[in-house]
Amino acid sequence: MAKIKSLAELQKKRDELQAVAAKTKNEKVIVNVSLATCGIASGGKEVMEAMKQEAAALGINNVEFTMSGCMTYCFAEPTVEITLPGKEPVVFGYIKGDKAKELVSKYIKSGELVDGVIPASYERIVF
């Protein structure tokens, strides 16, 4: 990995990465699974696997799976955030059993909301 030699280089790198992310966001469905200790313990990994399989089975191939840390909704683990191209991200909680597949077959495939949407009650600092 090339070393970053100055603040300017770091800013350039950030801009490049943001550009890639913006492009992805417009083109792909981004599925972000909460995989901190709590998420993993409540089955987050299985959820991700199930969604991958379901997407493959349904022939949906514009889905990018990512992981993140704690989404802070302990009461609703496992939690998954789905961002449809060009849309605001939506967080789904209580993803147990067939719910994972349902997210793919309903929300990702046709934008049809399923139960367990967790409204965002926060403002997030970005810079």
Partner: protein, 488 residues
């Protein structure tokens, strides 16, 4: 549309970025703050900015971070240390883990900023070994940052070098106390020593050392980027910024929240936390961990900040919040917390080592119906003297659960010692299960489930519980379909 009660600064990235990817962090502005410090600010400027921001330690004591850094910067030394206190030990608190697992680079960046500010180039994260995933992600993050020249020698092409290593704690609660933590890092028994000298003067290996909690650090890059005025514009007069809490217990939305300082308890419990399950009444919330205190319905409108909590015999602590409802007995709750601190005291000073045991014993006596009114006085006096004489923060705060519950729920204590009753129906030895004659239809179900066969009565006739034989298991009460058995 839900009100945006929460403001996420320390937890701004957890749940949003991939903690195992440095690019993911850079994409959200990661390491920009460090770069800005190195390129545009002198160490003294960084310290001034921190002082002006009003950021105070999130580990619990609330010492101003910039002031602490200023002390460490003042002492000349060839080596200085930045220690990240990741020894999260409060039961029911996991905000540090969430940050470390979800946004490890944030903490690394903040430590490097601290190192730059105080003139140190060694960082250590003291993390409990029970956090394997956090450890793995931190290790990965350190390696990635080094590979990219964001940690290690000559960071971003400057003269500044900063290295971070991990040290593992074995899960001793007292090791969250900074002097005990340092003792443990040096390979000694984890127990506190008397300050001064403060670690900022003589800490890790007797070198100037700043010890900052994970959440404190997690705020720092944002403060650098957005400025002191922005940060000090959030919160109350004395407590700036936000605070992360872990709400658990009798609450609907168990989880991690981050709210501006000054948010009322009511907002936290009812709006963010979603209220109490099963329509029960809110009774109290324990803040500040096992050595904090209980806030009650009387405190619901109080804005949460450092001073307000202390004024109510509790404390900020690291941010655990355990919510209790009408079914919780406050004496039993106090006993529960004392049971914890009694086991976790390092045993160094007399008041904490023996005093915690004695408080626990008195509480135990009360919960089994053997307490006297004199015991209440003893509890109070012993608690005050322990607070006054104990060596470290653990001992000085250990009686808080007793004092704060006695403050508001003295009636409940008195009911235990005078009436020998537990109003919340928790203390088994004080309970009596009785049959309400008017309601009993003589179905015999209760008699059949009683494990000790202490319920007698013929079918279709009123049943009677033999109090002497009853073991208060509650099986009869659960089984009765006619609400004919009550406990009191």
């Amino acid at each position: 549309m839900v009100d945006k009660n929460q403001l996420r600064i320390a937890t701004r990235n957890t749940g949003f970025i991939d903690p195992e990817s440095v690019e993911s962090y850079i994409a959200v502005g990661g390491y920009q703050a460090l770069g800005k410090c190195l390129a545009e600010m002198k160490p003294a400027d960084v310290i001034d900015l921190m002082k002006n921001s009003g950021l105070r330690g999130r580990g619990g004591a609330g010492f101003p971070t910039g002031v602490k850094w200023g002390f460490a910067a003042k002492y000349a030394s060839d080596t200085k240390y930045v220690v990240c206190n990741a020894d999260e030990g409060d039961p029911g608190a996991f905000m540090d883990r969430a940050v470390l697992e979800g946004d490890p680079h944030n903490v690394l960046e903040a430590m490097a900023i601290g190192g730059y500010a105080i003139g140190g180039n060694k960082g250590t994260i003291y993390i409990r070994a029970e956090y394997p995933l956090a450890i793995a992600r931190l290790k990965l993050a350190i390696q990635q940052a080094k590979d990219m020249g964001l940690l290690g020698d000559n960071i971003m092409g400057t003269d500044f070098s900063f290295d971070i290593e991990l040290k593992y704690g074995a899960g001793a609660f007292v090791c969250g106390e900074e002097t005990a933590l340092i003792a443990s890092m040096e390979g000694n028994r984890g127990e506190p020593y008397t300050k001064p000298p403060f670690p900022a003067e003589a800490g890790y290996w007797d070198k100037p050392t700043i010890v900052n909690n994970v959440e404190t650090l997690a705020n720092i890059p944002a403060i650098i980027m957005k400025g002191a005025d922005w940060f000090s514009g959030i919160g109350t007069e004395t407590s700036k910024g936000t605070k992360v809490f872990c709400i658990c217990g009798k609450i609907n939305n168990v989880g991690l929240i981050e709210v501006p300082m000054g948010t009322s308890l009511k907002t936290v419990i009812y709006d963010v936390g979603g209220g109490i399950p099963d329509g029960k009444e809110f009774k109290a919330v324990q803040t500040g961990g096992p050595s904090g205190g209980a806030l009650t319905y009387k405190d619901l409108d109080a804005p949460i900040d450092y001073e307000n909590l202390v004024a109510r015999q509790s404390m900020m602590g690291s941010g655990g919040m355990i919510v209790m409802d009408e079914d919780d007995c406050m004496v039993a709750v106090a006993k529960f917390f004392l049971d914890f601190t009694m086991d976790e005291t390092c045993g160094k000073c007399t008041p904490c080592r023996i005093g915690s045991k004695r408080i626990y014993e008195i509480l135990d006596k009360i919960t089994i119906g053997q307490g006297t009114e004199a015991d209440l006085e003893k509890l109070r006096s012993l608690s005050h003297n322990i607070k006054d004489t104990a060596l470290c923060g653990l001992g000085q705060t250990m009686p808080n659960p007793v004092l704060s519950t006695m403050r508001v729920f003295e009636d409940e204590y008195r009911a235990h010692v005078i009436d020998k009753k537990c109003p919340a129906g928790v203390c088994a030895d004080l309970l009596e299960f009785t049959v309400v004659e008017e309601k009993c239809v003589g179905c015999t179900l209760c008699a059949r489930v009683c494990p000790v066969n202490c319920i007698s009565g013929k079918p279709k006739e009123v049943h009677v519980i033999d109090q002497a034989a009853c073991i208060k298991c509650g099986a009869c009460l659960d089984k009765c379909k006619f609400d004919a058995i009550i406990k009191q």
